[in-house]
């Protein structure tokens, strides 16, 4: 078994997604570079990947969010950018995880609308709650259970 020596130890990587009518990922990258202060930035088709020590990445994300708060979305990533186990330059096809992002990307505009509307109504505005759901599954009828037990016993 080969020894594994990790890279970028002690850093965090975060995805930044932008779904904005007024800013492209390229423009976001240029503005992020201006404020990067040592954070590694990789531009992608949907936004950026930021890698660095946690404090620096969090500070840069606060800065980036201020560019277009309701159109920029952030999440954690486990792998550093360009990792051969994930990068599609080595694997071909869509990067693992991309299809999940693509699925959620389609509904980001609804989330943006929600954030804008809540900003407009203010902190204390009454907003009707979404229906809180539990997964509804048909329960096994007690008589049916009894029948099953009796059938099994016979």
């Amino acid at each position: 078994m080969a020894e594994y020596i990790p890279k970028y130890v002690g850093t965090i990587t975060k995805y930044v997604f932008i779904e904005s009518p007024s800013m492209t990922p390229g423009e976001l990258a240029l503005r992020a570079y201006e404020a990067s202060e040592g954070v590694l930035i990789k531009e992608t088709c949907f936004g950026l990947q930021l890698t660095g020590v946690p404090e620096a990445v969090d500070r840069l994300i606060d800065e980036i969010r201020s560019f277009d708060p309701t159109h920029i979305f952030v999440k954690d990533r486990g792998f550093p950018p360009g990792d051969p186990r994930r990068c599609r330059a080595n694997l071909g096809g869509a990067r693992p995880g991309y299809l999940g992002h693509e699925r959620e990307f389609r509904i980001l505009r609804y989330i943006t609308r929600g954030l804008e509307e809540l900003d407009r109504r203010g902190e204390d505005a009454e907003v009707p709650e979404a229906e809180v759901l539990r997964e509804k599954r048909p329960l096994l009828d007690i008589k049916r259970l009894q029948e099953l037990i009796e059938t099994e016993e016979q």
Binding site: E3, D76, R86, E104, R109
Partner: protein, 150 residues
């Protein structure tokens, strides 16, 4: 700042909203990052070693397939750490092989067994539902205790 487990654990929307409203999202990336940044035996692609199914015994019985126990070695500690959870019940992106499907069921079961505050929602399908979705998440996260209050 409360630690909030998100399901699907890879969700961009939930991760962003939890962080945006001042709490810490607990998702799959944190568990994966821990393994990717720990030196040891090379075990691509996710650095899941034969040790993980053993650690998963804490969360699932020995007769449960090793695939489920290995996955639970990632999610189990996050569930233990969580103080609240947000679950999207109709997340069609949270599909996968039988190991993923059974692990998802075990994750949901473990979250509900823990007795912590849980918000269950469906993804919005239009702008009006988007407003309701964000409002419900904000209200839930606002109701969680700040750091030190719990």
């Amino acid at each position: 700042m409360a630690k909030v487990f998100i399901y699907p654990a890879t969700s961009l929307i939930l991760s962003d909203l939890v962080a945006r409203f001042g709490h810490k999202p607990l998702g799959a990336a944190l568990g994966i990052r821990e393994r990717i940044q720990t030196a040891g035996v090379d075990s691509p692609p996710l650095q899941i070693t034969p040790e993980e199914p053993k650690r998963g015994l804490k969360y699932a019985a020995v007769e449960v397939p090793s695939g489920v126990r290995g996955r639970m070695a990632i999610y189990g500690p996050l569930i233990e750490e969580a103080e609240a959870a947000i679950i999207v019940t109709d997340a069609d992106l949270a599909f996968g092989c039988m190991g993923c499907a059974r692990t998802d069921e075990l994750i949901l079961f473990s979250l509900r067994q823990k007795g912590m505050p849980i918000l269950e929602l469906k993804y919005p399908t239009n702008e009006e539902e988007g407003i309701l979705f964000v409002a419900a998440v904000r209200k839930f996260l606002t109701s969680l205790p700040e750091e030190g209050e719990a």
